[in-house]
């Protein structure tokens, strides 16, 4: 009896003690445990908690389940099972026969018979119903995790009351009572226990249990969920992987998908070993090296970059290959290697390369392969792992030998009884900064030796062989293991977290790991290369309980607690892990149409919808009464608090209202939907409208900004006034504009903005603007925008977050205010057409250094120039001081001719390579820097001969420039025919030639002319001679006749008749002489000038009319130039004149005749006019045979004669007025020059 009482007291005491200590977590296991085919399993409690039949406590159990076996792998069972000793009591999970999440009870004997007695658990996310029957339970689905909370109210001596909540709301402020009914299952069962087993049996791969706890109240479990105020990252799902991966596959340029090995050389390049050769990566471009470059073909097993800048390639069966200075050198068994299959490489502090092969260890030093004496024991054994720790010690792992530390010439084995077998099968080795030794051993273990303690981690696996083939350590101490079938494993703070394809890893079969110099983690898998990135963008939608469709309003009602409004779907609340629908009776008043939300300064929250506002004074308690402020007929889309106590309300109809002290004051009607309101300075309010630009509203007066002022669109979507007073304006179709000091600058797709519709403008703590647009979220620095406005840069390069970063829909919703939310912890929330997107801008907090710049290749006419090599910096460490990448000190010399030159440069930055911007310049050709953006090639289609220097610099995403960059001197030689001396010489030669030719031509002409003249002269001389001879011969004799006849005449015995005859004879002979005289005169070349002709003419005229009775008047100009007239000319002219004289003499009956010679410089004119009868020119009839006809003939002759010599004959006459004959001879024929 007393014993009973004591027992009771004890129990009371215990229970009192237990109950006295309210709100306590009795036991928890936050780690991950995979259970598969466990049979009865084993206890996880370790005696921490127990309840027996006498207990009256109430315990709350929580377990989180990630089922691998699911409905598709039935039949199976998996459970979190309470055991009392070896007796089964209550199992929660999935019963063998059950499909859904279920609980099963054991019978009185403690046997569950595979959960024969099972109860399906109610669920709030039941399976979709078919054929009308409503199913209220939920089947386990692989990939969809589930939290099960169950409460046991212990009743002494009887079955206990069990309440199970399937996926309850464990958000802040969640209570037991507030849980929806539809996820509660209640039954009675015997639940006394002192052990908890995690079990699985049957089909499938098992279940993963984590986050298990036992507490005394529901609130403890809620609190455990990380919902305390002030905790970091509470919004971003705890338990949700914070990582994402950037992947490269063959589509992105990776030469082969299988990344078997990874290494980084001292110049910064990343090297990837594939099934056939290696590829070099600079963050943007892969360059393959294989058989054509001299690398033996075959798969690469391991890669290593040594401290001298070489890359070592361990192949499968082709030996060890070294890449240095552009060519490959192979070492095989011939050179002393124990085997041609290389499995591990490392470098010790003495600069020796340790080579682990399939048949032992070898060393390489200064071109020689040697062996280590102490490594004799590994002969014939496969050395699978080599590592140099932070102190410089070498570690070795070999199959069937163990793991060893090399010290003082000896290999000291690691020993541990428990893991002895595992140590015989090491796959990978790592010694972290803290000195812990990590070994990937056996099929699925990672052993960690911390001091003397060994801690085995078992890899939760789906495949038989899932060993850790690679290990890596991040700068912050996180150790990573890559499993050949399970993906990545993160060991942090004693926990193992699997990160696999579901987080974005390209494939779960990891082959290699590398932590590069900047601390980035690279994962090479069977299908692709991955770079681990901290996830800073999270997209929440249905999976997080947000329901389907778009979100518009967002408000932070309490630190970390976000309300999201969905049009047509009501209000949801985010608790840090999930969204849940807010069931508030008040909301039903408003209907489901929520347009926007505003969290007020006083802690209350305004909800705007159709027809009015709902005011929640205490949003944390939604069950409280909310006040409705109706605005019938108006669709409220914008809300804003002014610095006073008023709430500004804008509607879709264009009405602007102010609500103060619960009274509506109408402000104005802008006729266009009011999509944005922000408070300005001095009590003004900036109002953005849809279709009419932006108004500054100041108690009635308004300034206006629209397309007239410089905006590109009048459809305003968002407004934001920053601390510097700049008003940022997001428009639909017109990009982003900003207004400052009365001046508007606009950024559109032309300047680098990905999309021209900006619906959200949020500023983070680093002066960057995050813009929600129709093409994702764009982040651009304000300083960059200032530079754009100042004209210093032509474009900006914003960081873009879209589907690739995890957004489900790239379109951000907008058209209401406030749009987007910056939470108190600094995260940025964007509403989109599919749920919400949360971005953590603080992820990239570390200041990126200025990027390195390397000149990779120079292509001349499309062919890589052989005279150019990249010389990597000698030291393996990257110095803080950026030295220009030394291209060969020699100058690149190009031969003469037209060359196309391509400079391929790069920057080795893996963080955000697409944001690295370049500028280059070919000094000597370019007058200024060429902005290349993120283009990595400079192209010159023609470089004239000369000396140049190519200079390229780069800046990173933060705008930090590496001004030294990379340079290369280059000369293009001239063709010999381009050199100055040749050109000069040829110019001179040309000149001389020209001159020579000209002179030759001149001379030739002169000569010809001379010849011609000579000929003419000869001819003339001949003529003259003939004439003269004639004249001389005949002249004298004729004269004689004249005198003889005169003498005869004088003879008195001669009759008068005879006298007459004699006179005739002498006259005739004188005539002959006269004619001869004329002929000779005409022919005489000395008489060939104008002067002579004129004077002869005068004389001739006088002589002709001497005895005729006609008075002849001659007028010749005093001075006549010695213009040359050819004999032909003279001849014709004289004959013509003679003809004129004859006419005048015979037919004119004139008494006077005048002969004028006129010369006006251009023509010679001889005018013969008489005062005779004249004639009527028109009456001349050639047929009439009289004097007129003769005149006519004569006239015709004259005309002909003049025409023959290029002149003309003009005849003027009038009856009774005499005849004037004008002979005109143009003398302007140019004197024939040479």
């Amino acid at each position: 009896m007393i014993r009973c009482c004591l027992k009771w007291l004890l129990l009371l005491g215990i229970s009192a003690g237990v109950t006295a200590t309210q709100a306590v977590v009795l036991w928890s296991d936050l780690g991950t445990t995979l259970v598969h085919d466990t049979g009865a399993g084993f206890d996880v409690l370790g005696g921490a908690v127990k309840e027996d039949d006498a207990s009256t406590n109430t315990l709350y159990f929580k377990v989180h389940v990630d089922p691998l076996s699911d409905a598709s792998t039935e039949e199976y069972f998996a459970a979190f099972e309470l055991y009392e000793g070896d007796k089964e009591r209550l199992g929660i999970g999935n019963a063998l026969k059950a499909w859904a999440y279920s609980a099963y009870r054991a019978d009185a004997t403690g046997q569950s018979h595979e959960g024969a007695d099972y109860i399906d658990l109610h669920s709030s996310r039941p399976e979709p119903s078919t054929s009308g029957t409503s199913i209220i339970y939920e089947n386990p689905h692989r990939g969809i995790e589930c939290t099960i909370v169950f409460k046991v109210q212990y009743i002494p001596g009887d079955d206990d009351l069990v309440t199970v909540w399937l996926n309850p709301d464990l958000g802040p402020g969640a209570t037991e009572a507030a849980q929806p009914e539809n996820l509660i299952t209640r039954f009675k069962a015997k639940a006394t226990f002192n052990e908890i087993h995690l079990r699985h049996g049957g089909g499938g791969d098992g279940w993963i249990f984590n986050d298990m706890a036992i507490a005394t109240s529901f609130g403890d479990l809620v609190a455990m969920n990380g919902n305390e105020i002030g905790m970091e990252n509470r919004e971003l799902g705890k338990g949700e992987p914070l990582f994402t991966f950037q992947s490269w596959r063959s589509e992105q340029g990776l030469p082969q998908d299988r990344v078997r090995a990874l290494a980084q050389t001292s110049d910064g390049y990343l090297w990837v070993g594939t099934d056939d050769g290696v590829a070099r990566f600079d963050g943007v471009r892969f360059v393959s090296y294989g058989l054509p470059e001299g690398l033996p073909s075959g798969p690469v097993r391991t890669l290593f970059g040594d401290s001298h800048g070489s890359l070592w390639i361990g192949s499968v069966g082709q030996g060890l290959i070294r890449w240095q200075g552009g060519h490959f050198t192979t070492f095989t068994t011939v050179d002393g290697l124990p085997s041609d299959s290389i499995s591990a490489l490392a470098e010790d502090d003495e600069g020796r390369l340790w080579i682990g092969t399939d048949a032992g260890l070898a060393l390489w030093r200064n071109g020689q392969i040697t062996s280590l004496k102490a490594a004799e024991e590994f002969k014939g054994k496969a050395v699978t792992a080599l590592f140099k720790d932070h102190e410089g010690n070498m570690w070795l792992g070999a199959t069937d030998a163990g793991v060893f530390k090399y010290r003082a010439g000896e290999f000291i084995p690691l020993a541990d009884t428990a893991t002895k077998e595992l140590l015989q099968d090491p796959h990978s080795l790592l010694v972290d900064k803290q000195g812990r030794v990590w070994i990937g051993a056996g099929d699925d273990f990672v052993l960690c030796r911390d001091g003397e303690q060994w801690r085995p981690y078992r890899i939760p696996r789906h495949f038989a062989r899932s060993y850790a083939c690679a290990l890596g350590e991040e700068p912050d101490g996180t150790v990573w293991a890559g499993s050949v079938s399970e993906g990545l494993l993160e060991f942090k703070e004693g926990k193992l977290v699997t990160i696999n394809a579901s987080s974005g890893l390209s494939d779960n079969a990891v082959e290699s790991l590398l932590v590069d110099r900047d601390g980035n983690l690279w994962v090479g898998t069977e299908v692709g290369l991955n770079l681990l990135r901290q996830k800073n963008l999270f997209a929440y939608d249905q999976k997080q309980g947000l329901g389907y469709g778009a979100v518009d309003g967002l408000a932070e009602i309490a630190p970390g607690v976000i309300w999201a409004g969905k049009p047509g779907d009501g209000l949801y609340r985010w608790d840090g892990r999930n969204f849940s629908r807010l069931m508030s009776a008040n909301l039903s008043i408003m209907g489901q149409q929520i347009n926007t939300l505003l969290a007020s300064r006083d802690g209350s929250c305004w909800v705007a919808g159709a027809d009015g506002l709902l005011h929640f004074r205490n949003p944390m308690k939604t069950t409280d009464q909310a006040e409705l402020f109706p605005l019938p007929g108006e669709n409220i889309v914008s809300l804003c608090e002014d610095p006073g106590r008023g709430l500004w309300v804008g509607t879709r109809e264009g009405q602007l209202w102010r609500l103060e002290n619960q009274k509506w004051e109408t402000q104005t009607n802008l006729l266009h939907a009011i999509t944005a309101i922000v408070p300005g300075t001095n009590g003004a309010m900036w109002i953005g409208t849809e279709g009419d630009g932006v108004y500054e509203f100041r108690g009635g007066t308004r300034a206006h900004l629209d397309t007239g002022n410089g905006l590109l669109s009048d459809l305003i979507r968002a407004l934001y006034l920053d601390a510097q007073g700049t008003l940022w304006i997001g428009t639909a179709g017109g990009g982003l504009s900003w207004w400052r000091h009365g001046h508007i600058t606009t950024l559109t797709t032309r300047e680098g903005l990905p999309d021209n519709t900006i619906s959200e403008i949020l500023e983070d703590g680093k002066g960057q603007l995050w813009l929600g647009s129709n093409r994702g979220i764009n982040c651009v620095g304000k300083t960059e925008l200032e530079e754009l406005a100042a004209g210093k840069i032509p474009a900006v390069y914003p960081q873009v977050y879209g589907r690739a970063e995890g957004m489900l829909s790239e379109e951000c919703s907008g058209g209401f205010c406030p749009a987007g939310l910056k939470s108190q912890s600094g995260q940025l929330w964007f509403p989109s057409l599919k749920g919400v997107v949360v971005v953590d801008p603080q992820v990239h907090l570390s200041r990126m250094p200025a990027p390195t710049v390397l000149l990779e290749e120079v292509l001349v006419d499309g062919v890589p120039s052989s005279g150019f090599q990249i010389v990597p910096p000698a030291s393996g460490e990257r110095t803080e001081k950026l030295e220009p990448a030394k291209s060969s000190n020699t100058v690149l010399k190009l031969g003469p001719g037209k060359h196309r030159i391509e400079f391929q440069y790069t920057s080795l930055g893996f963080d955000a390579p697409e944001r690295i911007r370049f500028r280059y310049r070919l000094e000597g050709l370019d007058s200024d820097w060429v902005e290349a953006g993120n283009r990595r090639v400079a192209f010159y289609s023609y470089v004239p001969p000369g000396s140049y220097q190519f200079h390229v610099i780069a800046c990173n995403a933060d705008g930090l420039w590496n001004e030294t960059g990379a340079t290369l001197a280059l000369t293009v030689s001239k063709f010999f025919w381009q050199t100055w001396w040749f050109l000069g010489l040829s110019a001179l030669t040309l000149l001389a030639l020209v001159v020579g030719v000209v002179r030759f031509a001149v001379k030739r002409r002169l000569q010809r002319r001379l010849q011609q003249l000579e000929q003419e002269r000869a001819l003339e001389r001949e003529r003259t001679r003939i004439a003269q001879d004639l004249h001389d011969e005949m002249g004298a004799k004729l004269c004689r006749i004249s005198f003889l006849s005169e003498d005869a005449r004088r003879n008195h015995h001669v009759s008068s008749e005879l006298q007459h005859q004699i006179i005739s004879i002498s006259d005739a002979s004188r005539d002959v002489l006269h004619s001869l005289d004329e002929i000779v005169w005409a022919v005489n070349p000395q008489n060939d000038t104008l002067e002579h002709v004129a004077s002869y003419l005068g004389h001739y005229a006088q002589e002709y009319f001497q005895e005729t009775g006609i008075e002849c008047k001659v007028d010749i100009p005093e001075r006549l130039p010695p213009y040359p007239l050819s004999s032909q000319l003279r001849h014709h002219l004289l004959l013509a004149v003679h003809e004129a004289f004859t006419n005048a003499l015979k037919h004119s009956h004139a008494s006077q005749i005048s002969v004028f010679v006129v010369y006006d410089g251009a023509a010679l004119e001889i005018v013969v006019s008489d005062n005779g009868d004249g004639f009527n020119p028109s009456v001349i009839d050639p047929a009439v045979a009289d004097s007129r006809a003769a005149t006519c003939n004569g006239l015709r002759n004259m005309s002909r004669r003049l025409a023959d010599i290029g002149g003309r004959c003009l005849i003027e006459s009038q009856m009774g007025r005499g005849v004037t004959i004008r002979f005109v001879l143009p003398l302007n024929q140019p004197v024939e020059k040479w």
């Binding site: 001389d1032 002249g1035 004799k1037 004729l1038 004269c1039 005289d1077 000779v1080 004389h1099 010749i1116 005093e1118």
Partner: protein, 207 residues
């Protein structure tokens, strides 16, 4: 009685002219020479009033002969005989000292007339000759004195002749008699001769 001497290398002509002159009343042909050389040898003794000199002679030319003749016998009147009117030659002869010229083909009557004119102090001039004379006076050399300068009257006559006016026309124009014209022309020739001789001397002296 006018005494005439003929210098011509054509025998037949020489004899015909000689006979003709002899047969003409008031004229007497005192000698006939076939060449300048023989003429120069004998003419100083003959002392005719007028010498009829052919321009073209074998050996020394008629022009040269005139020069020499005028040097030896300055007051002698030389009439050049020429078959055709070679203005240059005639001008040269006039410059050399001839006082006139006549064409061989002139009528014999004309010949006599010309000789008579010459004896009386006149000289024939054709427009061509006149022009040449004008040109010569304009371009004459350095030494210029009253002896060589033409008087205004002489200038006018020369110009008119150069223009082509006949003696008669010139006389009409200037209001003087033809004889006066002839006298002027003679003076012009004399000055021409002087001028040319002076030039020759000057040239000679220069060398």
């Amino acid at each position: 009685m006018i005494t005439v001497s003929i210098v011509d290398d054509e025998k037949g002509l020489r004899e015909s002219i000689g006979k003709f002159i002899e047969g003409s009343p008031g004229f007497r042909c005192v000698s006939a020479y076939p060449s300048a050389e023989t003429a120069l040898k004998h003419l100083p003794q003959d002392r005719p009033d007028v010498v009829l000199m052919d321009i073209h002679l074998t050996g020394m030319s008629g022009i040269e002969c005139v020069e020499h003749l005028k040097t030896m016998m300055p007051e002698i009147q030389v009439m050049m005989l020429t078959i055709y009117e070679d203005t240059d030659q005639i001008f040269r002869a006039l410059s050399a000292g001839a006082s006139g010229y006549v064409l061989k083909r002139s009528t014999p009557a004309r010949l006599l007339e010309a000789i008579k004119d010459l004896k009386e102090g006149g000289s024939p001039m054709s427009s061509s000759i006149a022009r040449k004379v004008v040109a010569s006076f304009q371009t004459s050399g350095q030494i210029r004195d009253d002896k060589t300068n033409l008087s205004p009257r002489e200038q006018m006559v020369l110009e008119s002749m150069a223009k082509g006016l006949t003696y008669k026309q010139t006389a009409d124009q200037l209001g003087i008699s033809i004889d006066t014209i002839r006298t002027y022309v003679r003076r012009i020739y004399d000055k021409l001769h002087v001028q040319s001789r002076t030039e020759a001397v000057a040239k000679y002296l220069q060398h």
